[in-house]
Symmetry: C2
Subunit: 126 residues, 2 copies
């Protein structure tokens, strides 16, 4: 498959559009994305892989966590993603955001109380 077709295929799935929308405000680890989407982790990893292969996302390893973010190094993809982001329907992605925020808040609370914490990068994501 050529690059252009691959890019569009990557963007042709609702789950992946929701992921992109979640990443609008910064990088997130897989568990956060899974929490936001309310989906099992292997499913999320699968879709992250598709987006990464299409060079729409980049990842960064940090201990046992893998953080994903939008890859805007390519001009065309950047334009695409920008125009895409404002077109992603609000209803579903609003819920995703709520679930994500809930997960992030929950972790912050546990952090303060000294209890074990899921993902270390909460502070970076908003």
């Amino acid at each position: 498959m050529n690059d252009l077709a691959r890019t569009f295929k990557a963007l042709s799935d609702e789950t992946r559009l929701r992921i992109i929308k979640l990443l609008e405000s910064g990088e997130l680890c897989v568990c956060d994305i899974a929490a936001g989407l309310d989906m099992v982790q292997p499913k999320v990893s699968f879709h992250l892989g598709v987006l990464k292969k299409a060079k729409l996302l980049k990842d960064r390893k940090d201990g046992k966590w893998m953080h994903y973010r939008i890859d805007d190094s390519d001009m065309f993809n950047r334009l695409l993603l920008l125009s895409v982001l404002e077109r992603i329907p609000g209803a579903e992605s609003g819920k995703d955001r709520e679930r994500l925020d809930l997960a992030l808040e929950g972790r912050a609370a546990r952090e303060c109380s000294g209890a074990p914490v899921c993902c270390p990068s909460a502070s970076e994501t908003r």
Copy 2:
């Protein structure tokens, strides 16, 4: 599926990108597109249907012929198609164009000689 995902899915197939490239210079009937792509007609009709459903193409009936053209009535699709057209790889689409031109020329010749003619709109397409 939502509209955005449907648009991208329509653009996520090489055959359909080749069709869009062929239609860059104007409308064509199904038989011309099939000649350009060197593909059987039902296959081409299938892909035209996908593109039409995504509102990337429009059709126009004319006797027994059906003419397809790029639908640029929607601003977003228009931008998408524009930026897409210049990214479609040249090698394959060059051959498509050659085959199409050959088919159009052949018909023009038959037209002058009074022999039966395939598609009436050759003059409109370039």
